[in-house]
């Protein structure tokens, strides 16, 4: 008898604890609420997910051009691909996604704002990504929709634009220096010396400006006399120690560009 009473007390207590809902509650109401929460999870993470996608895109590209000549411009992330991937995923959940996402790439400036979901910071000559979204998620069965319009900017801290600009400027300047040094026909023997002094001065000037940015520069060259011609082969290595790139699930520090070029001039 005592056991029976105990069981009844336990059942009664549990029934209060679990608060069994009333039987007349509308199934559609529950379903609508359920879908609303799901839609909200999809919609309210769109901005963060678009930035995660952009970071992944830019970093994958940067990892691919690391230790190369760095002559290309960074391609903007493919917004259509992002929308297509989400559309396929949402379709399997019974949602439809419409609208578009557009990305653009530009050079960043120190002081620009960067969204924390992207995980970077803005510095001079870095990569700035801007995302502009006009996306709408619909549940046609229940007739509910979530519209998310946003314009957001973020920065990849690798100073790619700055390095690219330095290397391009360095190449042009070395061509000018070499041509000037070897332009004088009367004093050809003094030309290599003059060229060396000019190049040393140029590299010193560039290093002074780049050191504050955490960037180092090394310029080497080899002079070869081929008959009446002089061939000077240059190699410049620029290393950005502040760069950080996400690759294969890890954060890699450092990014370098190596560019080689040759200049041919008449020696006498």
């Amino acid at each position: 008898m005592k056991e029976l009473v105990l069981i009844l007390i336990a059942l009664l207590t549990a029934s209060f604890l679990v608060n069994v809902p009333r039987s007349d509650e509308d199934w559609f109401l529950y379903m609508g609420e359920l879908r609303m929460y799901e839609m909200s999870a999809e919609a309210d993470t769109l901005k963060a997910r678009s930035l995660i996608f952009a970071r992944s895109w830019v970093d994958r590209w940067l990892a691919g051009v690391n230790s190369t000549a760095c002559e290309e411009l960074p391609p903007p992330p493919n917004g259509s691909l992002f929308v297509q991937l989400l559309r396929e995923d949402m379709m399997s959940k019974g949602f439809s996604l419409t609208g578009d996402l557009h990305y653009s790439i530009d050079e960043s400036r120190e002081g620009d704002s960067s969204d924390q979901a992207f995980g970077g910071y803005c510095r001079d000559g870095g990569i700035k990504v801007a995302a502009s979204s006009r996306l709408t998620i619909r549940d046609d069965l229940l007739g509910i929709k979530a519209r998310r319009y946003f314009d957001v900017g973020a920065c990849q801290p690798t100073a790619y634009f700055l390095i690219r600009e330095v290397l391009t400027g360095l190449r042009h300047r070395t061509i000018e220096i070499v041509r000037k040094a070897f332009s004088s026909e009367e004093n050809v023997t003094a030309a290599p010396q003059e060229m060396r002094e000019e190049l040393t001065s140029l590299v010193r000037y560039l290093r002074r400006n780049l050191t504050d940015e955490g960037i180092s520069l090394r310029l080497t060259y080899a002079t070869e006399f081929a008959g009446e011609e002089v061939v000077i082969a240059f190699k410049a290595v620029v290393f950005d120690e502040e760069a950080n790139i996400i690759r294969d699930g890890g954060l890699r520090r450092g990014f370098s560009c190596i560019r080689e070029w040759g200049i041919r001039v008449r020696g006498s």
């Binding site: 952009a54 991937l85 699930g249």
Partner: protein, 91 residues
């Protein structure tokens, strides 16, 4: 001994009679799903790019979402390679 037996029977009865039916009741599903979705939003928005570093906070990164017990919700994270989903469950 009798008291222990009674307690054991009570637990079994309560589990089968009340807890399991309420677990599948939509009212509870909505509450748990609401919590899962809310946690999922917070997790994705707070972690951001750190998801690419394999961090998942209170969720987990999965290749496929579903086929397991429990109430949860997943969102696709484009950019993860191969494509992963962030899943947060409740309870």
């Amino acid at each position: 001994m009798k008291w222990m037996l009674a307690a054991l029977i009570s637990i079994i009865v309560v589990s089968y009679v009340l807890v399991i039916p309420t677990r599948v009741h939509l009212g509870w599903q909505v509450r748990w799903k609401a919590r899962a979705c809310s946690d999922l939003k917070r997790t994705v928005n707070e972690l951001g790019y750190r998801i690419l570093l394999g961090q998942s906070g209170q969720g987990e990164l999965v290749s496929t979402c579903g086929g397991e017990k429990g109430i949860y919700y997943c969102v696709l994270i484009p950019g993860t390679s191969p494509s992963k989903k962030m899943r947060v469950g409740s309870p």
